[in-house]
Amino acid sequence: MAAAVVIKNLKKSYGDVLAVKDISFTVKPGEIFGLLGPNGAGKTTTIRCLCTLAKPDDGKIEVGGISAIDNPKVARQRLGYVAQEVAIDKVLTGKELLQLQAALYHIPKAAAKQRIEQLIEVLGLQDYANKQAGTYSGGIRKRLDLAAGLLHQPEVLVLDEPTVGLDIESRRIVWDFLRALKAAGTTVLITSHYLEEIDALADSLAIIDRGVVIAEGTPSQLKDKIGGDRVTLRIREFTSTDEAEKAQHLLSSLPFVEEIIINKAQNNSLNLIVQTGSNCLSKIEHSLIEAGLPIFSLAQSRPSLDDVYLAATGKTLLDAELAAASTRDLKKEKKQQMK
């Protein structure tokens, strides 16, 4: 069976801005594939090339084994596209928008009518379908947009940052919906700059940064690749620098500990990278008690996609300050997107 989507050595520039330098990835049929990257990484540009809205400068794009560049109409038929910004005619009702969309995809009248009813029901739009879209809230608009993208039963639904700016409830609805889509056999390609979103949804992912793919695989492959487990230790709720440094010195002599950094932004908590499988928590606990240090909290976890991302971007993974700065950035971005 042909891959659902193949993108190979894609290149696209706008004037002298090289939006996509070299992006390749493969989406397998039936999976949820995540395209993860920070603002300006080239996610939207990649998606626009895939959906035949922009012509790539170079590279190969295939949808179900057929070139989207040579046969844009076939690609358009097979793809459903839910854009980053919901584009809805405020004067039309939701139902009228879906009827327009059905005609643009040449769905016969009777089939379209049935299909529209089904989607309105499945997306819980019954109360809104006959109201003008200008009156909808953000979450309802997104649902209508999803319905429009799915109307022609595409093989692959492409969603560009589908949960940006949505409240938590609407985000959960979209997530559940994408999982249901996958269960029904539709391939899903989603972009996001939320690590937790891709971690929660995607079967495979590619991380892109400044126009290139820096890592591709399943979430656990990527996590295994960077290796080690993460241990977070807080000596007290508010630890003094002295005590933190003392603990750092003490624990760095343990054989299974690879690196320790003190996270000043988190009240001097200690972040450790330890070898996977070592029975490390009890050993850490033991040596702390021996040295007379208290323990406020101690937890072990697998690396997160956050760690994968930081490792892959070449920014020092263990620089706590940088890590703190990058989480601050994400928050700021989220706020900006909410506006």
């Binding site: 854009a83 005609a103 643009l104 539709t186």
Partner: protein, 297 residues
């Protein structure tokens, strides 16, 4: 929405279309073209129905032109605009064509806003048989508005003593209005696809609209003009729409062979004028083809 994964009905709603052959139906491209054109046209009329101010302004404006321009020249010596010709009679054809032209020139604006708001992407990611359906829908919409406006102007002019052409004459007016609207609408849509944004489109509309009015025979006959303006007016498609309608207003008995205008270099018959307008339309439709096909940056 809550038990999404459970029901099999939901599953079938969300499943991809497994039968690929039924998806790509190129067999009936004319039917598909009509389907997409009608759907796009319907959208424009729903907008008009829910926001009728465009239509109201579009009817009031030519009416005001008639009154104002009529009053402007009301003391002009009798016979100045030709033997036994009132200015109202002279003016009506100019206002008919200018009104249709202005409406058509603005046709690109909604498309430009669709582009800026991302709605056009909805059309461009859809497997349209031809993007000329976007042009066709706008033309149907503008032509309907132009016909309503023309009817108002023809009625008002009759009331202002301009007379009323017969059924054949009125049909000929409709044909001419159709031809000028088609070409100008296509031109405006081409600009909406080509220009960077609505600011630029409005600028182009602004610098084209009135100059083309004054460089045509809408307000004054050709032999009133300076020589250089006569040349420009004789190249202006508006003149080729205005002059035959004016002839219809003046002559009850007209044929395809009637000479309806004298350019500095040739006499043009009624049939000739229609051919010129057809050529104008063909040229514009041909020119905008690459713009419609272009994928957006």
């Amino acid at each position: 929405m809550t038990q999404l994964t459970t029901s099999s009905k939901i599953k079938s709603t969300l499943a991809p279309n497994s039968n690929k052959d039924t998806q790509i139906d190129n067999s009936n491209s004319l039917g598909n073209f009509i389907q997409e054109t009608l759907a796009l046209t319907k959208r424009l009329f729903i907008q008009l129905q829910r926001r009728p101010s465009t239509l109201m302004a579009g009817v009031i404006q030519p009416f005001m032109w008639l009154i104002l321009f009529g009053a402007l020249f009301s003391k002009a010596p009798q016979g100045l605009f030709g033997n036994d010709l009132s200015y109202a009679k002279f003016l009506a054809p100019g206002i008919i064509v200018f009104t249709a032209f202005s409406g058509a020139l603005n046709a690109g604006l909604p498309v430009m806003f669709d582009r800026e708001f991302g709605f056009l992407n909805r059309l461009l990611v859809a497997p349209l048989t031809s993007r000329y359906s976007i042009v066709a829908a706008s033309t149907i919409y503008i032509i309907t508005l132009a016909f309503i406006q023309t009817a108002v102007i023809v009625g008002a002019s009759a009331f202002l003593d301009a007379g009323l052409p017969g059924i054949a004459g009125l049909s000929a007016i409709a044909l001419i209005v159709l031809l000028i609207v088609l070409g100008v609408t296509a031109l405006s849509l081409g600009l909406a696809f080509a220009l960077p944004g609505h600011i630029e489109l409005i600028a182009v509309i602004f610098v084209t609209n009135l100059p083309l009015l004054f460089a045509s025979t809408a307000l004054a006959p050709l032999d009133f003009m300076a020589g250089w303006l006569q040349v420009i007016a004789s190249l202006n498609p508006l003149t080729y729409a205005i002059e035959p309608i004016r002839y219809l207003y003046l002559h009850g008995d007209w044929t395809v062979g009637s000479i309806v205008m004298n350019t500095p270099w040739a006499e043009v018959s009624f049939g000739g004028v229609i051919l010129v307008l057809l050529a104008f339309d063909a040229l514009v439709l041909f020119t905008i083809q690459p713009l419609l096909r272009r994928r957006f940056a």
